[in-house]
Amino acid sequence: MKRTAFFITLLCAFALWGGGCNRCKRSIDIGGIKELSSLATVEYTMTHIVFDDDSTMAGPRKILFEMTASAKAGIDLDAIRDEDVRITETSIEIDLPRPKILFLDIKPDKTEKLYEIIGPLRRPYDAKQKNKLLVKGEHNIAALLAGEQSGIVKVAGENAKQFMQNILSDAYEQKKTVTVRIKEK
């Protein structure tokens, strides 16, 4: 009897300890303001088709969405170190950090349901199933965007170089030659 009570107390202690940890983790994330120093230099607007086909012998059950997403990419200005900037009497050279995708924005009103075909014996898609499909679409867009073929990172780097070139030329009133490069690593 005593042993059982001891095990129950031990289990309760573990359960409370685990719950407490989860609450701690949540409180860090929620309502947090975080400092950044990102320069977004390109915005891509993309469309992506997602669909589900669950047709069976009982009839068709299909849905198709067109998702429009926008992604911004740029550089982290915080990552520029003193050694990345070389200044002489007549020139200034600056090495910028490698660009990255900053965030992906999928606005709900830019997601359009193009087709929904449901047979008379089939159940229509509910909100949860539709959102599950859109989440898959979101993951697809993120994965495809991260791939080199989209070129967003390359364009972001070129734009960052151009922007820095302009801003530094203005600041030095064209008196110095400005060279901007993107770091290899």
Partner: protein, 211 residues
């Protein structure tokens, strides 16, 4: 097969045979209904991404604000909400540096002091991705209302960020970071000022603009 079935039923009493046949039929019907109702995993074939537009921008993002909120929809006359949606996302705030191009006095070198005139900070994006929405309680609502609920969650997050004075924080950090950047690239004295605009820099009244 058929001879086995006939033998099976002929050796039993008729009532028992009918009961067994009915039971088998019920199981078959249940399996068929389950097959129809069962929801299969969404299958995405050959995913493609079509780039519709590429726009050059220059937005300096100084802060992000993560939060979550709850919005609901209640049908007229109902006491309980029909749909409750939780939205989790991030608000990004900072400066649109493309406005510097429109102002010829935005970067001026006077003697050894560089004066940079920044535009007022603004909310750049409020992002709640599809994976950030959780349907806590859901009944039947139209597609338009569901999209409207999602938009309300996004607006609620934006207003909360403004209530937390995110734009004031942007102003302070923008000033420090721009000074620090130009000092790194060789200027001894940097002065940062803000262009006067009509953009709201204060927080609206709590809940303003959100139904």
């Amino acid at each position: 097969m058929w001879s086995w079935i006939i033998t099976f039923f002929s050796t039993r009493r008729p009532v028992k045979s009918v009961a067994i046949a009915l039971a088998v039929l019920c199981v078959a019907c249940a399996a068929y209904v389950f097959y129809i109702v069962a929801v299969k995993e969404a299958v995405l074939k050959n995913p493609h991404l079509i780039i519709a537009k590429v726009k050059t921008i220059a937005q300096y993002i100084t802060h992000s604000y993560y939060d979550e909120c709850v919005v609901d929809y209640t049908k007229d006359g109902d006491s309980k909400p029909t749909f409750v949606l939780v939205g989790r996302g991030t608000v990004y705030a900072g400066f649109d540096l493309q406005k510097l191009d429109k102002d010829p006095e935005s970067i001026v070198l006077r003697g050894n002091t560089l004066t940079v005139r920044l535009p007022e900070p603004e909310i750049i994006n409020t992002v709640i991705p599809p994976s950030g929405f959780v349907n806590f309680h859901y009944g039947r609502i139209s597609e338009e209302r569901y999209t409207g609920l999602k938009n309300r969650a996004i607006e609620k997050l934006r207003l909360r960020a403004l209530e937390k004075d995110i734009l004031k924080l942007c102003r302070e950090r923008g000033e420090v970071m721009i000074e620090s950047f130009f000092e790194t690239v060789g200027f001894d004295h940097v002065s940062v000022e803000f262009a006067a605009t009509n953009a709201p820099t204060h927080a609206p009244a709590p809940g303003a603009g959100v139904k």
